[in-house]
Amino acid sequence: MSGLLNMDFLDEVRRMNKRQLYYQVLNFGMIVSSALMIWKGLMVVTGSESPIVVVLSGSMEPAFYRGDLLLLTNHQEEAIRVGEIVVFKIEGRDIPIVHRVLKIHEKEDGSLKFLTKGDNNSVDDRGLYAPGQLWLEKKDVVGRARGFLPYVGIVTILMNDYPKFKYLVLACLGIYVLIHRE
C-alpha cells in the first residue's frame, strides 16, 4: 500500500518537473524574443541599422573611451554638418568608425561630400578611406551620435578580447535562466 503511494508521488514529481522544464524553456524564449523586438523597434525608431554601438578605439579621446556606449540615429532629413559625430563604414570593411565631420561640400541637389577626423588623431581620415576615395558620402553613414553612456559597453570589449570569457558568460546565463524558479 505505501509502495503504491510512493510510486504515485514520484510520478507526480516527475510530471511537474517536465511542466516546469517546458515553462523555463518558454520563459527563455520570451526573453529572447522580447530583446529582439526591442532591438528591431529601436532600429525603426532611430532609422539606423545599428542604433547602439560600443566605442572600440581611442581615436576620440578624451570624449569617448573604449567601452563607452553611443546611441545613434540616422534620419535622412537631418543634414550632415561639421562638428557632428558620425559613425561610418568604409566600403569593403566591416568595422564602423566613430569620428567627427571636419569639412562638408554640399551641392544644390543635396549631394554631399564630407571629410572626417578623430579628435585624438593629428591628421584627417583620408588615410583610412578606401584607396582612391577622398570623401565620404551619405551612403557611408551608419548613424549620427546623439546620446552617450559611459563604461556600459566594457562587457562587449571584454568578450571580444577574451572569447573564453564570452562562452563563460553565456553558459552562466543559460544555467541561471534554466535553474531559477521565478
Binding site: 570624449a63 562638428g83 561640400h105 544644390e108 561630400k113 579628435d119 552617450f148
Partner: protein
C-alpha cells in the same frame, strides 16, 4: 552558500539599478540647458592662393589664409554633467559649384576644470582652408562662427553655435610670394 549567493545577487542587482537611476537623473537634470554663450570673432589679414593639393585630387585648388581673433568666456557652460566641450571654428560660404561649404579651421578640447576663457588675437588656423575647387578668390561672404559640442557624463550630445559671427571677404586676386 545558497543565501550568500542570493544575497550577493540582490546586492549586485540593487547596485546596478541605483546606478542606472542616478545616471538617468544626471541626464535629466541638464537635458534642458540651452548651453548658449556670446562669442566675439574677428579676422586679420586674409589672403588666398592657388596651390596644388597633394593630399587630395592633386589639382590646383584655392587655399585660403586667415588669422582670426576670438573672445569668449565659456565657464558658465560647465556643470556636473559636462565632461568636456569640443570647440570648433567654422568658416561657411557658398560657391558656384557648391551651395553650402563648411570648413573647420580650428578646434580645441576644453575639459571640465581647464581654463575656458579665450582671448586670441591674430591666431593661426589649425587646419588648411582648402576649397573644393576655385570658390574662395573674390568670395564676398565667408562667415566665421564658433560652435561647441557638449560631451556629457551621460546624455545627449548637443551642438550649439555661439551667438556672434563674423563675415569677411576674400581678395579678388591670388596673392603671390611667401605665406
Amino acid at each position: 552558500m545558497n543565501t550568500f549567493l542570493s544575497r550577493l545577487n540582490t546586492i549586485f542587482a540593487f547596485t546596478l539599478s541605483v546606478m542606472a537611476g542616478l545616471t538617468f537623473c544626471c541626464f535629466l537634470s541638464t537635458d534642458f540647458n540651452l548651453n548658449q554663450e556670446n562669442v566675439t570673432l574677428g579676422t586679420g589679414k586674409v589672403s588666398v592662393k592657388e596651390v596644388r593639393d597633394y593630399s587630395a585630387e592633386k589639382e590646383k585648388k584655392d587655399l585660403g589664409f586667415i588669422v582670426f581673433d576670438l573672445n569668449a568666456d565659456l565657464t558658465p557652460l560647465f556643470n556636473w554633467n559636462v565632461k568636456q566641450l569640443f570647440l570648433y571654428l567654422t568658416a561657411e560660404y557658398e560657391t558656384k559649384s557648391h551651395k553650402l561649404n563648411q570648413v573647420v579651421l580650428w578646434d580645441k578640447i576644453v575639459e571640465r576644470g581647464n581654463n575656458a576663457v579665450f582671448d586670441l588675437k591674430n591666431a593661426n588656423t589649425k587646419y588648411y582652408f582648402w576649397d573644393y575647387a576655385h570658390g574662395l578668390k573674390g568670395n564676398q561672404n565667408v562667415t566665421l562662427t564658433l560652435s561647441w559640442n557638449v560631451i556629457p557624463n551621460a546624455g545627449r550630445l548637443p551642438k550649439v553655435m555661439g551667438t556672434g559671427s563674423h563675415s569677411f571677404v576674400f581678395p579678388n586676386d591670388y596673392s603671390s610670394g611667401r605665406f
